[in-house]
């Protein structure tokens, strides 16, 4: 049996984060990125020490799937103590396959959670969920005429009178703040008080 030559790589890193210092670090090879993290391409893992540093040593046979596989494309996933992924780095490779000692990941975490910007984006989803929720609390069949009338008038009101063009036609003042008030500094004066 031919002798198998194995090269060991050493990856060092440190994490700066104002909220926490203890992380579980997973080192992965990116060679099958289509499968994202569902592929078992973990090369190693480690908890950070008290100063946020870590070291992971791995052998190249863990990432070499094919003969054409050259140097590893490494990235790091950080998990908090409960296992939640809090950060994922970009990929990094050694300058050449023989450079096995100088791989470092110095990670600075600035933002833990990505927020959406507007609470209004989910208006229609809320409305559909609301109708689903009231589902079995209405006796719709008791008064078909009343139910149908209510539905038609609601649709009519919603289609026509949530429309700014219609407001202008009628001369309705409308809201006194812009749709996304927090985005820009704005006055708290009313249109009619400035007349």
């Amino acid at each position: 049996m031919p002798k198998k030559f194995v090269t060991s790589y050493t990856v060092n890193g440190s994490i700066q984060n104002v909220h926490q210092t203890k992380f579980y670090v997973e080192l992965l090879d990116n060679d099958q990125q289509w499968f994202d993290d569902r592929i078992d391409d973990l090369l190693g893992s480690s908890w950070t020490d008290d100063s946020g540093k870590f070291q992971i040593i791995f052998d190249d046979d863990l990432y070499r799937d094919n003969w054409f596989e050259g140097k590893p494309e490494l990235f790091v996933i950080l998990r908090d103590e409960s296992g939640k992924i809090v950060h994922k780095t970009n990929t990094k490779s050694p300058s050449n396959p023989n450079d096995t000692e100088n791989l470092t990941f110095d990670i600075v975490i600035t933002q833990k959670v990505t927020f959406i910007d507007s609470p209004y984006d989910t208006t229609n989803a809320r409305r559909i969920a609301a109708f689903a929720r009231i589902g079995d609390s209405m006796d719709l069949t008791d008064n078909i005429v009343n139910s149908s009338r209510l539905l038609m008038q609601s649709l009519n009101a919603w289609l026509l009178y949530t429309n700014e063009a219609k407001w202008n036609l009628i001369g309705y003042d409308g809201p006194q703040v812009e749709r996304y008030p927090w985005r820009n500094p704005h006055s708290h004066k009313l249109a009619w008080s400035e007349d």
Binding site: D40, S45, K84, S137, D139, N146, Y172, Q176, H188
Partner: protein
């Protein structure tokens, strides 16, 4: 210290400190308050200030002033209960309630009336032991904090001035109207914009106050609690599932954090010494119903303050939308003018354009024509003091169902009030009047007013009526037979459960209720502090939340997360082994904890998928259940078998501990024969009863992850299988045949398969009817309802329906039973029937019953030949050496009241 609001919605710009919930939560505290409205917020803040640790749970989200943009389309969906789609069950009355942090105080029109003296007296007569002095001190305390002041003359808008003018102009029965005045309101300095000292008068109060000048609970008591050093946390987007209680002691609350589409994301369990329900009328009754609080008065006696309106059209621009919407009231005909029964207030009010379009009772071109005159309208409402005739029921889907019909007295009050208001508008120069009745939309002169009155009395269904003040459902009083709570707002029969909000009002109040609810909250908090139940300890329970010790409650992604950071415990490797016997031996390899309702099963490791509600995971849970069984092979390995419950597959495997890069020490489960050897599992034993696992396809160590799972030897009955149920059912040490009286009450049933225990699939209600006949009413998912005939003796509790199947029940404990819906045991060969015999029976003109009986016998013959495992998850076949075979469904029953 600054306290935090937690919620699901990921919206960054918040005035208060806010964090997004990313996992299940378990809290052990002194007090859990449900609902953050007029009473709940005050109770939570005051108890926190008194040194108690407090968790406040709110179903709606947290939205600050800056996110309140005055757009009806956005704000009604965001701040109103059910996105505004909140009606009585007959759709005749729309009910406006808040569903956001701060509750209805965020969306009301800031009207403040003290509780009328006449109401205090009436409530005293009904057994409410709260004195005028107590109401006064509580109202004064609240009024100081929310800055209750009078609307100034300068602040009256043109709409309110029209009502003021009408009140001074009109005479009723030859007498002038003497009781009319400006309202008190709760407005004051904005904490977010120091340049604003009082109301901006934008007119959008009920879409939330953008300027934070309306002194709602959000910017007063909740803000104070958040800014304090007291132990206070608010959780938003939290739908209460149930209050946990036993023998009159409440131990905690369980809820789900729901996303915008109403789906559960995470769970919360609050273990508390004391629980206060302040979710508002309707919701509070629903929570008590869902929690199985056994009091027949819950949900009874609902009042709504139903309010029709009358619009006057004037030949001048009024711009009623500009300025304070509700600032002037005519008290002449109401409780505030000593009217003892019924009566009404005439209140100035105006609506933004979308709600006005909903309110005007016409359609098409007529509607468009009337809406075009929006700026020329004066509007006021007739807020009636109605009778408490409504009731709140709990539907099959656990929703509150509000049944309410206007009484003749209330209809007469409405007719009279609308007629007076219509005359008022005409007397001060209105061209025409629009009444909220579909039969008489417009009236052109005062002479036509009787037409409107007649239409209201003849066809009250034609009225367009709104309500913003639901009250009652959990009445207060001194008689447990007639009331739900006592005068301290403590729920009868409980030591540490309180309910305090408008739901406890014994009658309709007759005035806008927010100040009275706030005063009641103040009184409740003070009484709780004075009567603190010091002998109650906090029960440390995880409930149904995800934890390493009960991974069957975890989301799939959480299973993966826990797997990553949890180390396998090599010292437990020996514990992988299951019992030698492959059959359940009660008391040996199978045990049941009656108190905790937990099964300990060492026959095998039962597998669990995540609790996710997506289609794929739900399908896996329902039909892809499995177990793994291990026997020791040698000191380093176990032979194993993986068995899907519903497929005749036995996948043999070898389990060995190994080191795996990135994972550390794990158990490698290597499948030994094709095609299963294309896959492998890695397992981590986290304690002696629980294993976390990952299933892969491909080469060991480099495979593709298929799914995360867990396995346990101890699991709650909510995760039991058919063999577990059969063991409980057929063993006298665990169950007995109940008597009819033991079964009286409502029970919810969940179907049991080996893979899965379903959500509630049926409700059984056992009781005696009016004639003393024992009966059982069933409801299967709202699709099938009816009555079954019950026969019970000491050997068998059985009930029959119209099918060849019948039910058999065994009781485990007073609130938990197991049942089977089965056909009779297969018959002896001589009694079996053939298709040919059935045809000849039909041809001979046999009765329907004879035909059905023969079909049953044929069916019975066929199923007796079915193998035990028939590939359909929920159907199971029982074989008995003497009795033969039978097919059926198994289920568990839990008592709900």
């Amino acid at each position: 210290m600054t306290n935090t609001i937690f919620g699901i919605s990921e919206f960054e710009k918040r005035a208060e400190i806010y964090k997004v919930i990313q996992e299940d939560i378990v809290r052990n505290v002194d007090v859990c308050v449900i609902g953050s409205g007029a009473a709940g917020a005050i109770i939570a803040e005051k108890l926190a200030a008194a040194g108690k640790s407090v968790v406040l749970l709110e179903k709606g989200g947290y939205y600050d002033g800056e996110s309140m943009n005055q757009q009806e389309n956005d704000m009604i969906s965001l701040l109103w209960k059910n996105s505004g789609a909140n009606f009585t069950s007959n759709l005749k009355i729309a009910i406006a309630q808040g569903s956001c942090l701060g509750g209805s105080t965020v969306i009301n029109d800031a009207v403040c009336f003290r509780i009328p003296e006449i109401v205090i007296k009436q409530w005293n007569d009904l057994g409410v032991n709260i004195t005028k002095e107590e109401w006064d001190y509580a109202t004064d305390e609240v009024s100081a904090r929310i800055n209750v002041t009078k609307v100034t003359d300068e602040e009256l808008n043109e709409n309110a001035k029209k009502l003021q003018k009408a009140c001074t102009t009109i005479q009723v029965n030859g007498e002038p109207i003497t009781e009319h005045r400006v309202n008190d309101r709760n407005c004051g300095p904005s904490w977010t914009d120091p340049t604003l000292q009082s109301c901006v008068q934008c007119g959008f109060c009920h879409l939330g106050c953008h300027y934070d000048t309306k002194q709602s609970m959000l910017v007063t008591y909740i803000h104070d609690a958040l800014q304090s050093n007291n132990d206070f946390t608010a959780y938003c987007d939290c739908d209460i599932k149930k209050i946990i209680h036993k023998d009159g002691i409440v131990t905690g609350v369980e809820g789900s954090f729901i996303d915008n589409t109403g789906n559960e994301k995470y769970r919360i369990r609050v273990n508390a010494k004391l629980v206060v329900v302040s979710a508002g009328a309707i919701a509070s009754s629903n929570i008590l119903h869902k929690s199985g609080v056994a009091n027949k008065n819950i949900g009874q006696g609902l009042a709504l303050h139903p309010a029709p309106f009358v619009i006057g059209h004037f030949n001048e621009k009024i711009y009623g939308n500009r300025g304070i919407p509700m600032s002037y009231t005519c008290h002449q005909f109401g409780v505030t003018n000593n009217v003892k029964q019924g009566g009404f207030l005439i209140e100035s009010i105006f609506l933004p354009i979308f709600q006005m379009a909903l309110a005007i009772p016409s359609f098409g071109l007529d509607h468009a024509r009337l809406m075009a005159e929006f700026n020329n309208y004066a509007l006021a409402g007739i807020m009636t003091r109605d009778d408490s005739v409504g009731r709140i029921l709990k539907t099959f889907g656990d929703n509150p169902k509000v049944e309410y019909e206007l009484t003749n007295d209330t209809i007469n009050d409405m007719a009279r009030g609308m007629a007076i208001l219509a005359r008022m508008w005409f007397e001060i120069g209105a061209d025409y009047v629009i009444g909220s009745h579909s039969d008489v939309t417009e009236i052109r002169s005062a002479h036509e007013i009787p037409k409107l009155e007649k239409a209201i009395r003849d066809n009250p269904d034609g009225l367009r009526v709104g309500s913003a003040h639901p009250q009652g459902g959990n009445k207060m009083g001194d008689d447990p037979e007639k009331a739900v709570v006592d005068s301290n707002c403590k729920v009868f029969g409980f030591k540490n459960l309180y309910c305090s909000d408008a739901s406890v009002f014994p009658t309709s109040l007759g005035v806008n209720p927010q100040l009275t609810v706030m005063a009641l909250g103040t009184l409740t908090a003070d009484k709780i502090i004075a009567n603190w139940p010091s002998d109650i300890a906090v029960l440390d329970s995880l409930g149904n939340t995800c934890d390493l010790s009960q991974p069957e409650n975890c989301l799939t992604e959480t299973l993966g997360e826990m797997f990553a950071v949890t180390e396998h415990k090599p010292e437990l490797f020996e514990k992988l082994e299951n019992s030698e016997s492959k059959e359940i031996i009660p008391g040996d390899n199978w045990q049941f904890d009656k108190n905790k309702l937990k099964i300990s099963n060492n026959l095998y490791w039962k597998g669990f998928y995540g609790r996710n509600a997506d289609l794929m995971t739900t399908g896996l849970r329902a039909f892809g259940g499995f177990y793994k069984r291990f026997r020791k092979l040698n000191s380093e390995s176990f032979s194993g078998v993986t068995k899907p419950f519903n497929v005749p597959v036995f996948a043999k495997s070898l389990a060995k501990e190994k080191e795996l890069a990135g994972h550390g020490k794990i158990i490698h489960l290597e499948y030994q024969a094709a095609p299963f050897n294309q896959a492998y599992d890695i397992l981590k034993m986290v304690d002696e009863n629980n294993i976390l696992g990952k299933a892969f396809m491909g080469r060991y160590g480099r495979g593709q992850l298929l799914f995360d799972f867990s396995m346990s030897k101890i699991y709650h009955i909510n995760f039991m299988g058919e063999d577990d149920l059969a063991t409980l059912f057929y063993n006298d040490q665990y169950s007995h045949t109940p008597t009819k009286d033991e079964m009286i009450g409502k029970w919810e049933g969940m179907l049991v398969s080996d893979s899965f225990v379903t959500p509630r699939s049926q409700v059984f209600d056992f009781d005696y009817d009016g004639s003393g006949e024992y009966q059982m009413h069933y409801n299967f998912s709202n699709l099938l309802q009816g009555y079954s005939e019950v026969s019970a003796n000491e050997d068998l509790f059985r009930f029959d329906d119209f099918t060849p199947f019948h039910d058999e029940l065994r009781m485990i404990r007073p609130d938990f039973a197991v049942g089977k819906w089965v056909i009779n045991w297969s018959l002896p060969q001589s009694s079996r029937f053939s298709i040919e015999e059935l045809q000849s029976l039909i041809n001979s003109g046999a009765s329907t019953i004879q035909v059905l009986d023969s079909i049953y016998k044929i069916f019975n013959l066929r199923i007796s030949r079915l193998p035990q495992e028939i590939g359909i998850s929920f159907l199971n076949v029982e074989n008995h050496p003497q009795k033969g075979s039978r097919i059926g469904l198994s289920y568990i029953l839990r008592k709900t009241n």
